[in-house]
Symmetry: C2
Subunit: 292 residues, 2 copies
């Protein structure tokens, strides 16, 4: 499971939390004495999404109270069920923010493939579509790993939602032309002050939205909020291998000796965030999270 998370076979902040919880349960079924070691291994896979550490902490608490494999299986199952509820609530709260005919821009992948439920921003899009409030989705392709072009496009096509993929760099042109009514993205970690770490490129979209008066919403379960992280500067940003940039799907696109910098996430400061859509409702500035 650690390997699957590390190489992104499972990705999306809520989904990796859930996968880690199940991973720990599987380890406990094999050898309960290895649970703590497995938690260390799983925790080290990816640094930015706080849901991973959160799910492991909750699992270890449950295991401390009841050191049986069944306790960890029950915890993982409960987490999966709660995620379904939370995603549904996020979708409904977010869809209520849109007016009929809305054209929404999104970045990265935040649908069922990212959470195990309906998604975060993806749940908002699906819910708005069902409610007849959505006209079009602009899907940022999301370089380097193309989660938008590969995963979000697949999810939206399957759901029958009208969409077009655009290069990440096109958001400004679309907003200049008045073609974007709202932005919805997910989050990998939300700091106590409302700063948001999310897929690289999120900050550019937020800054452009601000410039054009387009509302910029972050959709995330409260497990993505980390009161222990004071602000965005304190969020560890994962740096991945350059070959994710110099090659695309196994095809080399840059000269053989080319260097690349691969920051997987960036930070959007709280003043650019119109609202944070959680399962408990839409939170607005000033953000000050002391508990989830």
């Amino acid at each position: 499971m650690a390997d699957a998370i590390r190489r992104l076979a499972v990705r999306g902040a809520p989904a990796i939390g859930l996968a880690a919880a199940y991973g720990l349960a599987v380890e406990a079924l094999h050898d309960p004495s290895e649970v703590k070691h497995a938690a260390v291994l799983l925790r080290a896979t990816r640094p930015t999404a706080v849901n991973l550490a959160w799910a492991l902490d909750r699992a270890l608490e449950a295991f401390a109270l009841d050191p049986t494999a069944q306790a960890l299986v029950d915890h993982a199952e409960a987490l999966a069920v709660a995620q379904l509820d939370h995603d549904r609530a996020i979708g409904e709260h977010g869809a209520a923010l849109l007016s009929p005919g809305a054209r929404v821009l999104t970045h990265c992948n935040t649908g069922p493939l990212a959470t195990g439920g309906a998604g975060t921003a993806g749940a908002v899009i699906a819910s708005a579509w069902r409610a007849g409030r959505l006209a079009h989705v602009w899907v940022d392709e999301t370089r380097p790993l193309l989660q938008g072009a590969r995963l979000t496009a697949w999810e939206l096509g399957r759901a029958g939602v009208p969409y077009e993929i655009v290069p990440d760099s096109a958001a400004g042109a679309l907003m200049s032309r008045g073609l974007v009514d709202a932005v919805f993205v997910g989050a990998d970690r939300i700091a106590a002050n409302g700063d948001v770490a999310n897929k690289i490129g999120t900050y550019a979209v937020a800054a452009l939205a601000h410039r054009h008066g387009v509302p910029f919403y972050v959709a995330a379960p409260r497990s993505t909020i980390d009161p222990e992280t004071p602000d965005g500067a304190a969020i560890p940003i994962e740096e991945r291998l350059p070959d994710e940039i110099t090659s695309v799907r196994g095809v080399r696109i840059a000269p053989a000796e080319a260097n690349a910098l691969n920051l997987a996430f960036d930070v959007t400061k709280n003043d650019l965030v119109t609202g944070i859509v959680t399962e408990a409702g839409v939170l607005r500035a000033p953000y000050c999270f002391t508990h989830r």
Copy 2:
């Protein structure tokens, strides 16, 4: 030649102007009566870069005065020589804007491969490197066609300039971290009021640079300035085929039925442009071009 320009075998605003001038000369060597028809064909290849129309207009003027193939050959040769001079001057004027240790971000390709000379923004980078003023270049990969990752990386590697490729969406994160001292880009058309059409994504970089107080310079020969185009809204923006986005170097990256919108250029308004570096020096706001 028209086909080569259309499929981007020749690209870069100054280079396509030059290629069109030579194309016309070649046509005149074959059949002088076909020159006007050839000009119509060449002019229709790409709509945004004004250097194409400019070079054809100058060639047709020369041909009207002296309707021989030699007149068109001489015109093309003169244009090529002038481009070398202009690029050199642009490089020197631009390099003077940088302080030693500068870290420059650039978008798309603007070096020798784009002009036939030293380039536009690329000439500034080369000149600054030779003058010992440049520490590092951030190369936007420039989706969808990856002119940054493919061409600019190749040019910089060949010239020994230290660089790293980044996804287009990373410019904001780099600026947030204080890693960018200046942005230099080229242009496909500059309107009379200083609005700039350039490769899609340029506007996002300009807006982020503005937000972070990073100077944003456009480097272009005066043949890229079009006094006949009042502002950015009047610049025709080329829309190319979606498969440039849904496939990368022949590998399909999006679901089979996926749609994509492929705007090749965007417009950066004049208030975001710190200066326009031409062969005649650095021009600054307010921009009001009545002649080139």
